[in-house]
Symmetry: C2
Subunit: 242 residues, 2 copies
DNA sequence: TGCTGGCTGTGATCTTGATCACGGGAGTGA
DNA sequence: TCACTCCCGTGATCAAGATCACAGCCAGCA
């Protein structure tokens, strides 16, 4: 289960090899330099709560590696997953920008490196580097976009089967790189439990289990631990468009 | 049905009496002056489509008076309402900021005055007036906030009854000012049809009809055309918290 | 005056998926 | 090695709400 490669730590934003592909990190050199001096980088184990819904905002987190699930709860304690944040994304931005409590809970799904920037320092940084404002806007836009996707999924997809298929196909956009892959099979890494998938698509755990069982029985999917293989993408896609 | 008062037109942002209470309009004088020179103000009749989902973005609209419903469609043509935009809000911001097509359709629900600002001019304006970036961020934050609310409503509320009650109570936050109001009754103006309410809460028109009928029969609600009276707010609230 | 089209009320039926209940397997720590 | 705790699979039951079908109402209009 542990990854074979040692966990890679990114020391310095300026020399980070991923910087250019990432939503928030690709800043002009002077801004990066300033960012470097106010951030504090840490590695958090799986299951760490970076932000807690309803807590006063302390600052933002920029994900360097790993993933975090953002979720929100109802008064009764039921919860729903808003989205999975990827490296390069900023967490807690809405709270810090508008000076309100965190609007969602962020929990790491894997060991995750993140840069924390305290609220005051970040706001000052924002004032001094106006170009960063645009990046902030883009991250917020991305949040909105994901939220709208989720709304479409919850409100417009007719059946749970369709929603689950849609989710799996979305994952298939970023397939795993494996040496021993049969042609036509798409390997993906699934870090969510069935319970969490259920929270993502707004249904119950049992229904997800049944749906996945269905897909497997039809030969559209193979599951082994956290690694899944999509064995018939076309059929899955057919469900979604219907 | 027509309002007795003549439709009030706001000529000038600098002298606009509502400016201070509004999300986007309360800008520093020099920014306002610049805005004044690039905006073009119009009054649109009810039912005008200001933005169309999927169309390339041409610019943004700032609502001065009136309301607009923002909706999005699935591939099959079913549609869902994302939120109702109020005066002071900016429409089409995500599209213009990220340079992508409009993400939702905006349709006026009443005769509506709005300031249109073309994309290029707005982006230039944004560069030259860094303070505005913060307003943009706040509007985007608001969009996110509403989207998350909607997700909670769609994914976490157990019953349709609850969602409808929640919606009505949200409207009750901005009651109508009427001369002949009985004490304890909250008059509200409802510009949505039952079909649209159904799209808002993610259910069918018939179910909304039945639910409202239920509320009326229980004496919690009185309906006359577009004016409704909430006659028992406490009972409605009871449903929501359960 | 009557007609037309959009909105609303309501009955009957049928499907989906929630919920309860239980067993089984895999990892983990004492 | 044995509990113990998470996950996952699956059966049975049941209710909420989608869908179809139709009728009434009202405003606007010729």
């Amino acid at each position: 289960m542990a990854s074979r490669a040692a966990f890679q730590i990114i020391e310095n934003c300026l020399t980070c090899e991923f910087r250019e592909n990432r939503l928030f990190c690709n800043l002009p050199p002077d801004a990066l330099q300033a960012l470097q001096s106010i951030k504090s980088s840490s590695v958090y184990p799986k299951g760490t709560m970076l932000c807690l819904e309803g807590q006063p905002s302390r600052g933002i987190y920029v994900l360097c590696t790993g993933k975090a699930k953002l979720s929100t709860m109802s008064a009764e304690g039921r919860s729903i997953i808003l989205r999975i944040a990827e490296p390069g994304e900023v967490l807690g931005l809405t709270a810090v920008v508008s000076g309100v409590p965190y609007e969602s809970t962020a929990e790491t799904l894997e060991p995750t490196q993140a840069n924390f920037i305290p609220q005051r320092e970040f706001l000052r940084f924002l004032e001094e580097h106006a170009e960063v404002g645009m990046k902030v806007a883009q991250q917020l836009t991305h949040n909105c976009h994901c939220a709208y996707q989720e709304i479409r999924s919850l409100g417009l997809s007719s059946s749970v089967t369709e929603k689950v298929a849609k989710l799996i196909l979305a994952w298939a956009e970023h397939p795993l790189e494996l040496s021993q892959t049969k042609p036509g099979e798409i390997p993906i890494r699934v870090t969510l439990t069935q319970e969490e998938i259920a929270q993502f698509v707004g249904t119950s755990r049992e229904t997800v289990s049944r749906t996945l069982g269905d897909f497997r029985r039809k030969g559209w999917l193979r599951v082994k631990g956290a690694t899944w293989w999509i064995t018939n993408r076309a059929e899955l896609a057919k469900i979604v468009t219907t």
